[in-house]
Amino acid sequence: MAPTRREFLIIAGLSAIGAACPPLGRIIAKETTSSRDSLLGAPGSVPALKAKRWAMVVDTRKCWDDCTDCITACHNAHNVPAIGNPKHEVKWIWTERFENVFPAESHTRIHEVVRKQPIPVLCNHCDNPPCVRVCPTGATFRRTDGIVMMDSHRCIGCKICLAACPFGARSINFVNPRPFIRKLNLDFPTRSKGVIEKCNFCEERLARGIRPACVMACPEKALVFGDVDNPRSKVRQILDSNFSIRRRAELGTKPQVYYIL
């Protein structure tokens, strides 16, 4: 049904007001963000961090047994739901034992310190990612700077990427995750049920010139993030001066998370 002259004028008037004050919405949104997230600043205020090839170094020697700071920071920043049921769990970064992370390198005589050491695990942002290869809709894709991304709006929830990932880095939302989000971060989208999610190397923070949440949260600087193609970057300096290994490198996925044990 066509609007009457009166209805048309009301709609047109309201639209004009809306168009005239776009910052209003931003102001309202900004006021409701938590103080922690206001550290992020508005997009564009700081130049974005760019790299030819993003990578991470995890120095597990610096990890404490009960420390979960990186996990908390990541999961809060990305609205990762805290689902109690381990079968339906969603996780972006978590810790595992040596024998689970490096099954091929594990043996009975391994040093006790290494054996008991909690090892942070996350998406390896592989150079040759099988998850991207198998995805039937292109919902998961690799950026030129190496970040393996998820488009939650494209994902159909077929779960073949969960089968394809050799690192168990992916989770699917078996139930609606929103009621399980502890503290909502309005700067980052929430997800719906039925879609896959995983670590995104904090691409939303990099765009604002800020390093990943887990890296900044680590009290011991055990996580280092940077451009592995740049010889002067911190990650490169660490890799040049230490012996490092990667998870299941024999599979040829070329993981870009390096471990120093």
């Binding site: 198998v134 779960k159 089968a163």
Partner: protein
Amino acid sequence: MLEKALTGSRRYGSWMAILLALFGMGIYFYLRQLEYGLGLTGMSRDVSWGLYTAQFTFIDGIAASAVMLILPYYLHDYKAFGRITVLGMFLAIAAVVMCMTFVFVNLGQPARVLYVMFYPSLTSVLFWDMVVLSVYLVLNIVTGWTILSSDKNGVPPPVWVKPLIYLSIPWAIIIQTMAAFIYSGLPGRSFWLTAIMAPRFLATAFASGPALLILLCFVLRRFGGFDAGRDAIQAMAKIVTYAFLTSIFFVLVELWTVFYSQVPDDMEHYRFLFVGLEGYNTIAHGMTVAVIAAAAALVLLINPRTRKKDSFLAVACVLVFLSLWFEKGLGLLVTGFVPSPLGHITRYTPTGPEVAIAIGVWAMGFLIITVLYKIFLSVREAAELD
């Protein structure tokens, strides 16, 4: 011809009513799954595929097995199969529709299913599987329907249908190969990462499909007044026997490679499959039953005296069907996920709603088979009266 499915005996009516009721139950539980999410099923972060995908793999083989009737009849002029090739095509139609439905109910965001076609990803086996299954469905609908229509009118089938039938022969091989490639191309899943996956899938397909077809022929003879002919049934029985033996040989070859090479990761999965790991042995129990059923079926099939007796043959076909349903279904699927890439052992138990949805899809499949076979019988009856 479709109207012939609307009339029938009382028994036909009540059979259809039962199937419709089961199908309705499946829809009811599917709507609940749609609302709540896949959390309603027994699937988990570690075992992220379950009963649905297991049915898909198994039934994909049933669909491909139509080629075992078409090839001997059209390429080698084996006349005995002439009466039943249409039955094979119709079975393939029902099976492909079931396959697609099982993929669909497994999706977390089913409303987006057509994204596979809108945003095709040429490196994705799942995309290609959807393509080849759709083509195979169309091929079987067109060829089956055209041949039956010609039969009805008492004329030979049109010439253009022959090339389509020839095309459906390699196409059947393609759909099973593609289904196997979904599994065998994943770098982190050593249990599936084997080149023999596609040959194994084909062997089990050519055993389970014809076994089901023999059983359906027995049902048609008993309740539908249609005799497929002794030669046709015995020829299918031989196909089942050889295909089943081949599939068992393939499994043994796999076992030898795994346990002689003694690569720990590979052995771990097979240990889980046959004896269980860390007290999780439900799949191993199922496998034990499957192995016993397979052994019994082999005895009945290899011995010509039992194979040639319809009653024993029927039992053997049921055993082959059930044994492969588990081995190629939940056995193959869950074992691929346990232990997980991080070495964890997570139990998978299908939930009530999940089983109900699977039963609903099976009922839908049987509805399609019943309707198509009813049409087939009515056309044959009318043709014989003329």
